[in-house]
Each structure stands twice: as C-alpha cells, then as structure tokens.
Amino acid sequence: MRAFLLFLLLCVAPACRQDMHDQPKVEPFEASDFFADGRSARPQVEGTIARGELSLDEHLAAGRVDGELATTFPFEVTAEVMERGRGRYAIFCAPCHGSVGHGDGMIVQRGLRAPTSFHSERLRESPPGYFFDVITNGFGAMFDYADRITPRDRWAIVSFVRALQLSQNAELADAAPEARRVLEEEGS
C-alpha cells in the first residue's frame, strides 16, 4: 500500500514544478535580478553599431550632402517607395500632422501645439533633407522618430510628403488629361 501511495505521489509531483514554464533564459524585456537597474535588455555601449546598421552613406543615413541638407533623394523614388511612405506616414505622422498635412491631426485637436502646415510657403520650399532631418532629430516640441523609423522608411515618408505638397498646390494643367476633363466638367 505504501509503495502504491509513493507511486501516486511521484505521478503527481512533476505537475507542481513550473521550471519549464519560466526558464532561466530571458524573454524580451523580462525583468532581471542580475543587473543593478533590473533590466535584462542592456543599453548599447557608447560608440557601438549594431550589425547591419553601419552606414557610411551620409546622404542616406543623415540626410546631408557635404554637410548641407540634401536637395535630392538617395535612391530612386518608385511607386513602391511612395506606397510604403503613405503607410508609414499614416502610422507615425498623421496623428498630429493630419492625413493631408495641414497640421490638424487628432492629437492637435486634443490640445497639442499645432505644427506648421506642410503646404505653407516655407515648407514647400524646404529641401527633402530638411524633412529627413526633422524626423531624425526632432524639431522644437516634436520628438525624434529615429529609433522607430529606419532611414529608408524616413526617405519614403519624405517622398510621400512631397507628393502631398504637390497634390495640394496643383494647377489644372498638372492633372492627367483624363482627370482634367472630369475636373473641367465638374467646375463648369
């Protein structure tokens, strides 16, 4: 009888251990009692570069050419780049700058300081490198987005902002012939 009870106990006992549920490895952001600040994710050592993130291309990574704000894009702006930019703009910029860029996004309506419209004279004249620079380093009350948006995506966003600016300041003559006919008919 005693042997049987012992056997029963042995059968049930393994279920009490949770070791395999919480193994000594760390999952992302798991608290750690090893480091003084309690974080398992360690800050990058000053001056180190993550694998694959070295960029010697100042134009692509810093938006500058010879120290001046770039006036061109570091790669060709294709329809895909523009599409990518549209998506990223909707996620990261539209909440404040508004879906068309007038600076009237939802957060501004809730009391954030209103940014200048992208369709103002000054920002239409600004080079692409300026927008890249603002995303990378922030501007006044706007925080930087360098840790959340990769350089390629930042350029994609800039290309989309450029497209927005053109769309809001287009002349009738800029429209494709098809569209122009429709617009003219509607206008008259």
Partner: protein, 241 residues
C-alpha cells in the same frame, strides 16, 4: 448471529462500484473545466497596470495605429512594448499634471522602466512568432479580440495549445486579407466593394463571385494564394523547438 446486511445491500454495493467510475470521470471533468477556466488561464480577466493605460482611448478614441507603439510586430517575434519616450511624444504636452501619468513622468526623469504587467505570456517551452502570423493574414483581433474596446487589456483566449491548434488545423476559417491585419472591425461576410484590389484579383482567380463574400470562399482562396501549407502546422517541433 443475525445478518448485518440485508440482501438488498448487494445492489447498493454494485451501484457504488459502478458509480465510482462516474465519480472519477466527474472529478476529471471538473479538473479539466477548472484548468480551462479564467481562474487558471486568466482569459477575459483585465490586469491592473501601474498606469491605467487605455487602448480604448488611444486606439478607438484618437485613432492611433498599433504600430505606433508596437513597432516590431511586423518584423519580429516580439510585438514590442513602447518605451517611456513614446508616451512622452504626446504626454510631454498633454495631461502634464494628471496624477495617473506620474509613473510615466517619473520614469522619464529617472530613466527607470515603467513595470507593465504582462497579460499574455506563453510558457517558455512554447515558441511563438508574430511576424509570420501578421504576414500570412492573421489579424490582431483574431487572437487578441477587440483591443480597441479595452480600457485595460485582458486575454481574449486561453492561449492553451488546443487554441493554437484549432487554427493551425483549419486556418481558412480565420485568414483575412493582408491589408486588413490592423483593422479592428474586420468581419466576414464582407461587401465586395470593401475589398482591396489585390484581394479581388485573388478571388477572381479562384472563381469566387458572390457578394457579400463569405469566409468559406475567402479563406480557402487566401490560404491558396498566400501559400500556407496546413500539413506542417501541427508538427510538435514547430512550437516546441
């Protein structure tokens, strides 16, 4: 000596032996129910957080996209929990003296992390990856429920293995178009006109013409087009590596 047991005791004895089987089965059944109940799985139980962060206000109210805060959900296994800096992009100016945001401001001043309480946590022996699900047409709300309606996050599902397998056996019951992954209100049947151009051509290629489109038509067409191989989705080594 008189008989202690009446002859009918035989029947009682038999019934008890027979009944024991039911009692054992009943105990197992109760055990299983408890194991699957919210008491163990924590499904549908909202967690207290150090800051009462409301997805309802931030997602439904002001229309933020999940990726504004959970930025690695498309590329990584881990969806990402936003750092204090993300909150401060807005709360350095909005609600700057609300007491409930004090832990966030303190974290910003002292560089100490806000200690969010994990809501979803698989055992360490199970492997999960967000990016493959997001890329293959499983939307956030399929697994997490209507997060945009949650004042505090809870688990919509048990996260038990049978829940994973229920979908891995028949993904066509849940798959949606890739463009709608972040759409919290996604629902089938869906009107043809609400679908994206790519999805329409997938459906046309599969010969589906109904309007509204049913999941029974949409699912298999997408599984085919996205190249999802159902046969391998039940391999133990895929989740227990």
């Amino acid at each position: 000596m008189a008989q202690i047991f009446h002859p009918s005791a035989n029947l009682v004895a038999k019934a008890t032996i027979f009944g024991a089987a039911f009692i054992a089965a009943g105990a197992l059944w109760i055990g299983d129910r408890v194991h699957r109940s919210p008491y163990i799985t924590q499904a549908q139980v909202a967690r207290e957080q150090p800051v009462p962060f409301s997805h309802k206000h931030h997602v439904k109210g002001i229309g933020l996209d999940c990726r504004y805060c959970h930025g690695s959900v498309e590329e990584g296994a881990f969806a990402g929990i936003p750092p204090t800096k993300t909150c401060m992009t807005c709360h350095s100016q909005l609600f700057t003296d609300a007491p409930m945001l004090e832990p966030v401001r303190e974290s910003w001043r002292t560089n100490k992390s806000v200690e969010w309480v994990r809501v979803h946590d698989l055992p360490d022996f199970a492997y999960f990856n967000h990016s493959i699900h997001v890329a293959q047409g499983v939307g956030c709300s399929t697994c997490h429920g209507a997060v945009d309606e949650m004042p505090l996050v809870w688990r919509e599902h048990s996260l038990n293995m049978d829940w994973c397998l229920a979908c891995h056996r028949e993904p066509e019951r849940f798959i949606r178009p890739r463009e709608s992954i972040f759409d919290m209100d996604w629902e089938t049947p869906i009107a043809w006109s609400a679908l994206d151009g790519d999805t329409r051509s997938i459906l046309q290629a599969a010969g589906v013409e109904s309007d509204p489109v049913l999941q029974a038509d949409l699912g298999p067409a997408l599984v085919e087009a996205y190249g999802i191989v159902t046969a391998q989705l039940e391999n133990c080594s895929m989740c227990h590596r």
